[in-house]
């Protein structure tokens, strides 16, 4: 019983939580950038799946992880262009087109997998990059400094996204486009261009999320993401459109997931409660919000297409 509280288990659980939160973080930050510009993207899951598959396929056929990361990222970018065309240029209903992308990604990645790969095979996985010195610290090293480059990159994205949104002219424009596009437009800011770019950035990050997930596992399966894209969307609301908030949500969800699975493995959670305990990340995320009792409004123009008469 007390096994869980040995430092080894505790810190390896933390490490697992951080690993699990990596895709949430990438995808959540991406979704956040899009939403900040006023576009809701329900297609994250689909983009993650597509990127995951193509990254996997690249790794499988070329053996190059770098190339795989590049391809996964580019697929995300391409989907961003597609989604941008649909929502910004054609003013499509964001809810529908997002679900369309989700369905397409779900089906097409599966189809490609069956056609091009078929029987599951492992590729090489992202190697763990041990940070010199820090990774040697007992326990703490395992938890924080022995991760793949993608995981570090996810956390580095947090300040980067903050800088992008807070400190660049593009970021100012993004926030204006999401909050009051009429105002941005009246000052000569092209709301369409800004939103398009934000969507491309957001989907690219979703692509990176799928890439990180698949390369961490070294194998693809149909519906590999298992709902993680939707959770990432939810985490944007958890994080109240702030990068550190999204990070907190990703970590909370990931760590609770890791804790539950570890407790199951250790027998702390009886098998009869296996499914009940699997609710924990979702329930705790909601509970945390209830306790925090924050009243933050979404970007005022979220989901509203913009056009001048």
């Amino acid at each position: 019983m007390s096994d869980f509280f040995t430092a080894t288990v505790l810190f390896s659980t933390l490490a697992a939580g951080i690993r699990l939160s990596t895709p949430f973080l990438f995808a959540g930050l991406g979704e956040m950038v899009g939403q900040k510009s006023g576009v809701l993207n329900l297609g994250v899951e689909g983009v993650m799946l597509l990127s995951a598959f193509f990254a996997y396929w690249t790794a499988l056929s070329t053996g190059s992880l770098w190339l795989a990361v590049l391809v996964g990222t580019l697929v995300g970018l391409l989907m961003g262009v597609v989604y941008g065309l649909i929502t910004v240029v054609f003013h499509a209903e964001q809810g529908i087109s997002g679900i369309g992308i989700f369905l397409f990604g779900l089906g097409f990645s599966d189809l490609m997998f069956q056609e091009k790969v078929g029987t599951p095979k492992f590729t090489s996985k992202l190697p763990s990059v041990d940070i010199p010195l820090l990774s040697d610290i007992p326990h703490v090293g395992v938890a924080f400094f022995q991760h793949s480059a993608m995981t570090y990159a996810a956390f580095v994205m947090v300040p980067l996204v903050m800088i992008l949104l807070r400190r660049t002219t593009f970021g100012t424009n993004v926030r204006a486009a999401g909050e009051n596009p009429e105002s941005a437009d009246s000052l000569g800011v092209s709301v369409a261009r800004i939103r398009f770019s934000a969507i491309v950035i957001g989907n690219t990050l979703a692509g990176v999320a799928g890439t990180a997930l698949v390369l961490e596992l070294g194998i693809f399966q149909p519906n590999l993401t298992a709902g993680r894209g939707f959770i990432a969307i939810a985490l944007v609301y958890f994080g109240a459109w702030r990068a550190p908030g999204v990070m907190a949500g990703a970590l909370l969800y990931g760590v609770v997931e890791a804790t539950v699975i570890t407790w199951k493995a250790l027998g702390i959670i009886p098998r009869s409660l296996s499914d009940i305990s699997a609710m924990a990340p979702a329930v705790i995320t909601i509970a945390a919000l209830v306790i925090l009792a924050r009243r933050v409004k979404p970007p005022a123009a979220l989901t509203q297409p913009f056009s001048r008469h």
Binding site: D3, T8, V9, S12, T13, A16, R19, L20, P23, D110, F113, Q114, G118, T119, P120, K121, F122, K125, L213, E216, L217, G218, I219, Q221, P222, N223, L224, A226, R228, E257, A258, I261, T262, K264, A265, L266, G267, R271, S274, D275, S277, A278
Partner: protein, 318 residues
């Protein structure tokens, strides 16, 4: 209630597996409806392989990946209406639908598995594996090669075939000196990442041999492979996932019972019987991986367990 005008549309069905030169008209028409992909290295693939292994070639139509039960029901009904002589409903979850459909097509034989009974339907043959048997053997061998005595199991949700296999595994391992079998159900058939973390947690907690059931276990295999932990597979031969660490796989040879069911149909019996594949009838086979350097005594323990199960001296479920 049969809608015959479907025949036209479905008549175009291309036989997926036809020996060259045979005219499709003379072949036995079999249709397969299955929940996951045909090449899943697991449940569905085992049946596709089995049909392809049949001694006489058949005209096979496949609808795979129909995890939505209602969609599978539509496919089953359509295949029955389209003139297939045998429709395989390869998924326990399709049984309830079958109970409605089978009576509507009294000329068609339905094969339903995995199931141990035919629900009293005259034109349904049921088939099931005694997965506990292979589980038991895997467990025995696993215990023999475990130095820590602690073995980890990754399952999806605690139900169906996975439970049978894992129960057998647990019994086999404990009977052969394992001190602890930690069983983790991730709560999902599809969450590969969670299966990977479950395996990591089991290994961190001291497990030095792993097994698991269902399609998400590839995540666990990946971790086992990284950590150099031996792996036992089930449902299909999983050696290709890691040729150096997969010790053995329990493999389903449905063709053993398929042949029998087809023979019965040819003899005019359209259904009404339940078949089981097991070690004794050769429907279950433990395929050891030559690439894994298995100690002779472990192999011997495994062979002994197989013999014991076949001769009835060992009850894998007990």
């Amino acid at each position: 209630g049969d809608d015959s005008d479907d025949g036209g549309a479905t008549g175009t069905t291309a036989p997926a597996t036809t020996a060259a030169g045979d005219s499709a008209a003379t072949l036995l028409k079999i249709a397969l409806v299955a929940p996951s992909a045909s090449d899943d290295l697991a449940f569905t693939q085992s049946m596709v392989d089995a049909i392809n292994e049949l001694s006489d070639p058949v005209a096979l139509s496949i609808t795979d990946g129909t995890f939505v039960i209602e969609e599978a029901a539509t496919a089953i009904r359509e295949y029955a209406a389209a003139g297939n002589e045998i429709v395989v409903a390869h998924g326990t979850q399709f049984g309830a639908s079958l109970a409605e459909i089978a009576p509507d097509f009294p000329e068609v034989t339905f094969l339903w598995g995995t199931s141990t009974d035919t629900q009293g339907l005259a034109n349904v043959f049921a088939y099931s594996p005694d997965a506990a048997e292979g589980g038991y053997v895997n467990g025995v061998v696993a215990a023999a090669i475990s130095s820590s005595g602690s073995i980890g199991v990754v399952g999806p949700i605690e139900a169906g075939d996975a439970v049978t296999y894992i129960t057998g595994f647990n019994n086999g391992a404990l009977a052969n000196g394992a001190t602890e079998v930690s069983i983790t159900y991730t709560g999902s058939f599809g969450d590969v990442a969670l299966a990977a973390e479950a395996a990591t947690a089991l290994i961190t907690n001291g497990a030095d041999v792993l097994t698991g059931s269902a399609q998400m276990v590839v995540g666990a295999v990946g971790v086992a492979s990284d950590e150099g932990v031996p792996w036992f597979g089930t449902q299909a031969n999983q050696t290709s996932l890691d040729p150096s660490l997969v010790v053995a796989s329990q493999v389903y040879h449905w063709e053993v019972v398929l042949e029998e069911m087809i023979a019965q149909r040819k003899a005019g019996v359209l259904g009404g019987e339940a078949f089981e594949i097991n070690l004794a009838n050769g429907g279950l086979e433990i395929e050891f991986n030559d690439g894994f350097d298995l100690p002779a005594d472990a192999r011997a323990a495994g062979d002994a367990a197989i013999a014991g199960i076949i001769d009835g001296s060992i009850d894998p479920n007990g």
